[in-house]
Symmetry: D3
Subunit: 66 residues, 6 copies
């Protein structure tokens, strides 16, 4: 059994479906029954997601202006 | 004390409020103080939620076309 | 479809199984297929769980000594 | 290392960035390397967030009409 | 960027490290910088994890006794 | 209202209580009612927590042996 929750940036549907399929394959490979392997993708805005106290959008702006 | 987080599909507000009330009642019945029982509903798109490596929307399409 | 994650205090197994069954019944009642309704219980220590900046264990101690 | 996930009500971007910076500072102060300290903010609708079985929006309406 | 949280059953350390490495590879393949790709494994007891209202341990017992 | 969930490494109780108090203060400062501000700390093993596909314990071992 496995429930995978991935917080990621915005992706198109095709990429999301590929990510879902391949994350599932990993857990199935290591013993999780396919039909008991669940994936939920959370597309989190880079205005709400930060590293080192600075949002990823602001980190990008700082990089671009340096 | 209890915090219940339910990932569900899209629901109308009335249904959500019934779900909230009844989930709360279950935890209160088993000892969680009502005013310390919290419920958060996450309505997850079936384009981002998958079982067996396939999103629930694609599983539905496959079912409908079989 | 539904995945319910409940953070609760320590409970005995019998109580946990009753909580699981009744939380599931609520979501099934409002349209979630029973075999696609999942519950995970997280028993969180009251040394790691706080309200108003004070752990529930310390709130209890403060209440007992007042 | 630290990953902080805060469920909050709707906030403007400036306030969110201040919250992010100060939550990060707390974990850094207690030993988490700054560049390994992550914050994600989830702005949850008060139609989906409840205490005591009643959504915060309905609690507010009840207060206002009492 | 990606944070993957996988709820799984009990695994040995070697298997966990293989799961971690391969889940990471999937997100890196689809654009997440390797050093900004995080995985957290939660090994959840099958006494606390249920499908269809019945814990996985009790489902297993029921299967074995049928 | 706010619920803060922090995934951190193992800490002693005193440090955890300081973290809890100060995380709470941040959310209270930005408008969350103190008695509606909740913190849950998850102490995650560095055998189950990875960056870049490698657990933090293995990253540390690699650093120490380089």
């Amino acid at each position: 059994m496995a429930i995978i929750r991935a917080e990621i940036g915005k992706r198109d549907q095709e990429t999301k479906e590929a990510i879902i399929a391949e994350l599932t394959d990993v857990l199935v490979k290591y013993g999780s029954p396919r039909e008991n392997t669940h994936v939920l993708l959370y597309e989190v805005s880079y205005d709400n997601w930060a590293k080192g106290g600075v949002t990823y959008n602001n980190r990008k702006r700082a990089q671009e202006s340096s």
